[in-house]
């Protein structure tokens, strides 16, 4: 019964979304407050219906109702509760429902909470969001319905892929989809700007919190995914330039470019057309990602819910939405008023370079992902584009971006003093070069590119401190004045600093870990040990450790350094009978910022016939920074989002402040 209510509500939400479009459009044409309100109400109701549908599906998963085809295919009665819940979005159908939930949810937030937005523009945003809702809900209802019942329900479900039964991956999709779909609001704002023919500071101010929120969620989502790959796939890698990873990385890159160009549009009114273009692009890449991941056109380690026939439908949706958006852009963008002018050496100029490099980087990832398909279609030859390609193209582009990054915030708007900015950064440059040379000198074997990468990371981090010191007039003003300025720094500035420092920290970790990690592997009998880096890894015991839905061999491993115990680790090798699949459960020893990474392998005969287990140990120096850096970036986004100036009602409050002026500082 509850499942049928879910199915009913899902269909109802499709109808409500269609009503949302119709009512809002009529409202806009007649400029009628009644229709505006009705459209917004429909948006809220559509969200409520999807929410009920989502809850119904979750109920079916939690109660292991195997008469529902989706539950039977993706759940199992013995699965732990967390993964029963996470199983809701572990399949094609369920994840599309999560997508629709986010889509209608964000639409409802704009419709019901964004009160300061001009009514005409808001109605178009609501209508556009409703149109996207119609496309994706229709797809979910007709081609990917999670509520389909089975005539003859099985006794037991087929369970979720054991690799996906992991806490990081349970939370990964909600963040990722929040990010992907958050860009849909930005897309709708771009549509509204094009139809109204207005892209100004106020518009950019509306777009910024949404792009910030979507970007932060996407950052967390991608980081969780990378962390999952790092410890679940069992060979210590965290980024494989895999099509599925690239699919999530492209909207992130475009979203990052959008954040920066929106600042230029907000502060200086410049680059309006480009900002709108990026706003359309971010969600287009989100949809492209959804298509690539689900259609099976590319092979991937993360291949997920693959279905070629439905892939065609998703491609159609992508074509319709992106075609409408960019068609509108081609038609209306030339009519947008040109923005403010600026010299090449200026804050705007630095941000233009940022956008240029990020766009080139996005195209690189896109090419690297799709080139094998294109070439096979044109010439019939198949080729691979893997990590070596991205190291030679993407990495140098990012190097250029890193080089320019700390200079930008030190330049003034419109016309900057390039030489002056460089002079203020001499300390950062000195520290960066010193670190790079020290790493080169100390670390053997020598990896020049990794040392350069680390130097650039330090350049970013020290650059952030220089920028803050400049803002608070450190060393130029009295201590009291410095304190006052420090307290007065807006949250937006802190957010930017956190994000830039996070990027530098990530670069430090990524370069060092990739160049200087050490691996060791050996078949160990009990109480034998291997050496990895400065660590001794001893297999003390192997015990049976059976979970709710798996049986496992658990190694009790003692890690010591110079004879002193560092940690006891428990890597496992699990067998999931429901899936007939073996997985390795990695154990991590945290040593400061380093990881000692341990994997239990198969059992084999030792030298004297006694049992032995293949134990692989990795020493991953500074590996923590790889995940800490991006989380700092996301935190930066959140801090920036909490800035008073970016809140929903901010424009209205600003208007009130003009009416009742407060004393100036």
């Amino acid at each position: 019964m509850i499942v049928e209510i879910g199915a009913f509500c899902l269909i109802l939400s499709l109808i409500l979304s269609a009503a949302q479009v119709g009512l809002s459009v009529i409202g806009r044409v007649r400029r009628s407050a009644v229709f505006y309100g009705a459209g917004e109400g429909a948006a809220g109701a559509a969200f409520l219906m999807v929410l009920i549908a989502f809850a119904a599906l979750m109920y079916a998963f939690v109660t292991s109702d195997f008469s529902v085809a989706n539950v039977a295919a993706n759940s199992h009665s013995a699965k732990p509760m967390l993964y029963k819940v996470a199983g809701v979005w572990g399949s094609h159908e369920g994840s599309m429902l999560l997508w629709c939930l986010a889509l209608t949810g964000f639409g409802a937030i704009v419709a019901l909470m964004a009160r300061g937005l001009p009514a005409a523009m808001k109605s178009i945003v609501v209508a556009s969001q409703g149109s996207l809702g119609v496309l994706f809900l229709a797809y979910t209802v007709f081609a990917s319905n999670p509520f389909v019942r089975l005539l003859q329900p099985p006794v037991e479900g087929r369970s979720l892929n054991p690799l996906l039964q992991d806490p990081a991956l349970a939370f990964h999709p909600p963040f990722l989809y929040g990010g992907y779909v958050g860009f849909s609001i930005v897309f709708s704002f771009a549509i509204a700007a094009l139809i109204e023919g207005r892209v100004d500071a106020a518009w950019a101010r509306w777009v910024r919190p949404w792009s910030l929120a979507a970007w932060s969620l996407l950052t967390v989502g991608i980081t969780l995914g990378a962390f999952w790959a790092y410890y679940e796939l069992g060979w210590g890698g965290w980024w494989f330039w895999d099509p599925v990873e690239n699919a999530s990385f492209m909207p992130w890159l475009i979203g990052t470019a959008l954040l920066h160009s929106a600042v230029v549009t907000e502060k200086r009114g410049a680059l309006p057309g480009w900002t709108v273009f990026l706003a359309l692009g971010a969600f287009t890449f989100s949809m492209l990602g959804a298509f690539l991941v689900r259609s099976g056109v590319l092979t991937s380690v993360h291949a997920f819910a693959v279905d070629p026939e439905r892939g065609i439908l998703l491609l159609t949706i992508l074509g319709l939405a992106a075609g409408a958006g960019f068609g509108l852009f081609a038609w209306r963008a030339p009519k947008l008023a040109p923005g403010g002018l600026f010299a090449p050496i200026s804050r705007e100029g630095a941000l233009v370079i940022n956008n240029l490099v990020l766009s080139a980087a996005t195209v690189t990832v896109l090419l690297g992902t799709l080139y094998p398909l294109i070439k096979e279609a044109l010439t019939g030859q198949s080729l691979s584009v893997g990590t070596p390609y991205f190291n030679l193209t993407f990495a140098p582009l990012m190097g250029l971006a890193f080089l320019v990054l700390p200079i930008g915030p030190l330049l003034s708007w419109k016309r900057g003093d390039g030489l002056g900015a460089l002079q203020r950064l001499w300390a950062a440059a000195g520290v960066a070069v010193a670190i790079a040379l020290t790493v080169l000198w100390v670390q053997k074997p020598t990896h020049v590119t990794a040392a350069v990468g680390m130097g650039l990371g330090v350049w970013l981090i020290v650059g952030v401190f220089v920028e803050i010191a400049e803002r608070i007039h450190l060393g130029r003003a009295s201590p009291a004045e410095v304190r006052r300025r420090l307290g007065g720094l807006p949250r937006g500035a802190w957010g930017m600093s956190l994000a830039h420092a996070g990027l530098g920290i990530f670069a430090l970790g990524a370069c060092f870990e990739t160049a200087w990690k050490i691996e060791a592997a050996q078949a160990l009998s009990l109480n034998q040990s291997i050496t990895v880096g400065a660590y001794q890894v001893q297999l003390s015991d192997v015990v049976a450790a059976n979970g709710a839905n798996y049986i496992a061999e658990r190694g009790l491993v003692t890690v010591t350094k110079n004879g002193k115990p560092v940690c006891g680790a428990k890597p496992e090798r699990r067998f999931y009978p429901a899936n007939n699949q073996t997985t390795s459960e990695v154990a991590l020893c945290l040593e400061g910022l380093d990881d000692v990474y341990l994997v239990m392998g198969e059992r084999r005969a030792g030298s004297e016939g006694q049992p032995a287990w293949l134990v692989r140990a990795y020493w991953n120096p500074l590996a923590r920074l790889i995940f800490l850096g991006p989380l700092l970036m996301a935190l930066g986004g959140a801090v920036s989002l909490s800035d008073r100036r970016l809140r929903f009602a901010a424009p209205r409050r600003a208007a009130e402040a003009v009416a009742h002026p407060v004393p100036a500082e």
Binding site: S300, L392, F394, V532
Partner: protein, 154 residues
């Protein structure tokens, strides 16, 4: 003091390099083993889902590792090993696409975008100085200005 510690683990690091993957597959000569190990990440495990033979535990990956080790042990250069693999399995086996004319678009586009973009940005900006490019007045504003100037002149 810190540096000494750093050097200490470095020594250990150097000594334990190339101890990767399955010990039963390893070559005895550490120099050759290191060379083979450096080749693995460039070679695709063709039956796997986008993994290199360095990462994969599939049988084919083990076979390919064996072939690479044998070739390296037989005194072939890295280039010869790569050519051999491409001849035997096709271009698909290399994770790094060849620098060939048919792959020109792949290799050139990223840098072309940046160079053309920088050229357009700095080139065009220089030819149009900032001050001289103010927005033209609308007829209404022009009329108002003329009127103001006229009243000033009186």
């Amino acid at each position: 003091m810190k540096r000494l510690g750093l050097l200490g683990w470095l020594l250990v690091a150097v000594l334990s390099m190339g101890a990767a993957a399955d010990p039963s597959e390893r070559l005895a000569d550490p120099v050759l083993e290191a060379r083979a190990k450096a080749l693995f990440p460039q070679i695709r495990c063709m039956v796997c889902q986008n993994e290199s033979i360095d990462d994969s535990q599939a049988d084919l990956a083990a076979d390919l590792r064996k072939i690479v080790r044998e070739e390296v042990a037989a005194g072939r250069s890295d280039t010869e090993v790569r050519t051999y693999l491409v001849q035997r399995y096709g271009e698909y086996v290399m994770l790094k696409p060849a620098f060939s004319l048919t792959n020109a678009a792949l290799w050139v586009t990223p840098f072309a975008i940046v160079f053309l973009g920088l050229f357009a940005f700095f080139g065009l900006k220089r030819s149009s100085p900032v001050q001289d490019q103010e927005t033209a007045l609308t007829p209404a504003e022009q009329a108002l200005l003329t009127k103001l100037q006229a009243s000033e002149a009186e």
